[in-house]
């Protein structure tokens, strides 16, 4: 395990319960976890084990009942709603399972959104968005609407959107769930590049066993608890590992 002093994300003894009384669901039980610069950390486990809840808490979109979450030295567990909003805008890149691209905006406009949120001018945001699209191989399609793209291309747009404002932490929720193996490989290669950028880390929640070999560390969750964190023997896998043959591959 890496030393705690290097951690950019430090989660300690976090508890979270949804609902109350007899309907209470204890989704996080005394969870502790750390993420370090330059790594891809994957959270794996069965459905309903609390992976996405933990990811939401690390991203500052969900308040926890007890414990502490410190990201880049900021105590997210005790920050106000508006401070959390500013924190997310400046420090976190989001990649959602269903991409969440706005269908009525062009690809470049979608990618420019985080910069607009930060208060940049539209002109600057579009210019930076086109550069970000270039880095994911979609420079020539910046005017198109998301529905003109394949699932893999849409996920690459989502990655460009997550990176356009150069956040030090990228949060991904099931990034390959809607992708075939070929597109999954492209996307994971992009994540590797991101994670290897100095000062950055990538945290991925996944069900997809095919991508586990890309992780530097894997945290296994079950019933709201971290059962263990494994260190991968190889940091950069040479090739996407196909455990199941994809129907499209």
């Amino acid at each position: 395990m890496k030393p705690a002093t290097d951690a950019i994300v430090q989660v300690d003894n976090v508890e979270k319960t949804f609902n109350s009384g007899v309907n209470a669901i204890h989704v996080m039980k005394n969870v502790s976890l750390a993420a370090y610069p330059g790594e891809i950390l994957m959270l794996v486990g069965p459905s309903g084990c609390g992976k996405t809840t933990l990811l939401s808490a690390i991203a500052g979109t969900l308040k926890v009942e007890s414990g502490s979450i410190i990201v880049f030295g900021q105590p997210l567990h005790s920050m106000s709603g508006s401070a959390l909003t500013r924190f997310r805008a400046n420090n976190i890149g989001f990649i959602f399972q269903q991409f969440n691209l706005i269908p009525t905006l062009s690809i470049a406009e979608n990618v420019s959104v985080p910069l607009l949120i930060q208060g940049h001018s539209n002109r600057h945001a579009i210019k930076a968005a086109r550069e970000a699209l270039d880095s994911v191989g979609l420079a020539d399609r910046w005017r198109e609407r998301p529905n003109k793209l394949s699932g893999g291309q849409q996920q690459r747009v989502a990655i460009a959107r997550a990176l356009v404002h150069q956040p030090p932490l990228v949060i991904c929720d099931e990034p390959t769930a809607a992708l075939d193996s070929k597109n999954g490989e492209i996307v994971l290669d992009l994540f590797l590049n991101v994670a290897r950028t100095p000062g950055r880390a990538v945290i991925i929640v996944t069900h997809d066993n095919r991508i586990l070999s890309y992780a530097d560390r894997i945290a296994l969750m079950e019933d709201g608890e971290i059962l263990g964190v494994t260190q991968q023997s190889h940091n950069i896998p040479p090739k996407f590992i196909h455990e199941h043959s994809s129907p499209t591959s």
């Binding site: 979109t61 805008a89 989001f94 959602f96 399972q97 959104v113 607009l116």
Partner: protein
């Protein structure tokens, strides 16, 4: 952010058009109905515009200009005797029947004015000479009468033509501009003495005394002095104004508002327009917000504040309001053009479009508020679960 909000709005074409249609419909209904109502109310004061005089002196029982309680002819002299009065002239005003040359009857609004001064004569003649009214059996008709009193649509009445008022000959010597009367009949001017011949005889025939104050005396002061010295009711005739409840125009309009069901009829339609506007725009805008909740939630997760998201919704709703109102205003203008051409009552005081615009924007703000409430309850973490 404005561009982002507008692109999200315009991108959902079906809902955008539905929203605009709802606002357009409400705007058109409200503007058009209010304008017709104002037009009708204006017509109730047409005598005051067509027989223009600064002060109308009437029987104390009279509370609006279309109501006539005849006075004695000697009341003219009583008003003239008031020190603040510069001049005072008799006026006959009443609805009479005209027999056309094909035997058909039509009603007219007959105004009998003083033959010497011609006080109360039409302000603008488009044909003929005012002085010819002093010739025997002569009348001046308004432009409406040109076709209204013609038995043949291809042969409108012209100067020199004749018709009969209560079986007495009337020869047209002039055609004047005028405002239409509330009863729908055209205005016909003649001298006071001849009007008394045209009208069926009664013991008292004087409808009103029209008067003007001495130089330097206000209308109100002169009217007050007339009332004090004669016991008659003297009304100032400026124009309708909420600030002048004693003006004869205002009194007349308020009388119709209080004593007829006209405001209820038009008011109901205006309220229906408002309800339809609120229902369509709120329901559709809320559906629009729900449809976009996933995307708005993603923006929230990515760090957009509730305030900025709220502003986006406000911009979207107010844009819909602006576009819908604009189209509604254009449609109303088109309707106005056609309506006025066909002689329908239509008058839109300047304040009405502004007031309706404010009401429409309030509706849109209300619709936006519903969306804002829904969005504020949406936790950014929910975006990971959808």
């Amino acid at each position: 952010m404005i561009g982002l909000a507008l692109k999200m709005l315009f991108g959902d074409t079906a809902k955008y058009l539905m929203l605009v249609f709802g606002i357009f419909f409400a705007t058109f209904l409200i503007l058009q109905q209010l304008a017709i109502f104002c037009g009708l109310m204006l017509w109730t004061t047409s005598t005051l515009k067509n027989v223009n005089a600064p002060i109308y002196v009437v029987d104390p029982q009279v509370s609006q200009v279309n109501e006539t309680t005849p006075m004695r002819d000697t009341d003219v002299a009583r008003v003239r005797s008031v020190s603040n009065v510069r001049w005072a002239m008799p006026l006959f005003n009443g609805i009479q029947r005209v027999k056309l040359d094909n035997g058909a009857f039509k009603i007219i609004q007959l105004a009998g004015i003083d033959s010497a001064s011609l006080a109360g004569a039409p302000a603008t003649l488009v044909e003929g000479k005012l002085e010819d009214l002093r010739l025997p059996n002569t009348v001046i008709i308004d432009k409406l009468a040109v076709n209204f009193l013609s038995s043949d649509p291809d042969k409108p009445i012209k100067v020199g033509d004749q018709f009969e008022i209560n079986d007495i000959e009337a020869r047209v010597v002039g055609i004047a501009e005028s405002m239409r009367s509330f009863t729908g009949g055209p205005y016909v001017w003649t001298t006071y003495e001849r009007a008394l011949q045209y009208a069926p005889p009664q013991r008292k025939m004087l409808s009103a005394v029209i008067a003007a104050p001495m130089p330097g005396v206000t209308l109100e002061a002169a009217a007050a002095e007339i009332e004090k010295q004669t016991g008659l009711r003297a009304y100032v005739n400026r124009d309708f104004s909420f600030d002048a409840p004693d003006d004869f125009n205002t009194m007349t309009v308020f009388w119709f508002v209080k004593n007829t069901s006209i405001p209820i009829s038009f008011g109901t339609t205006v309220i229906v327009g408002l309800i339809v506007g609120i229902a369509i725009s709120c329901q559709t805008f809320y559906a629009f917000v729900l449809d976009n909740l996933k995307h708005l939630g993603a923006l929230k997760a990515m760090g957009m504040s509730n305030f900025r998201l709220s502003m986006m919704l406000v911009i979207q709703s107010m844009t819909v309001g602006l576009v819908g109102f604009g189209i509604g205003l254009l449609a109303t203008a088109g309707f106005t053009f056609t309506a006025i051409k066909n002689g329908a009552p239509f008058f839109m005081p300047t304040i009405i479009p502004f007031a309706v615009f404010a009401a429409i924007q309030l509706i849109c703000l209300f619709a936006a508020t519903l969306g804002i409430i829904r969005l504020s309850l949406y936790e950014p973490a929910a975006v990971f679960r959808t």
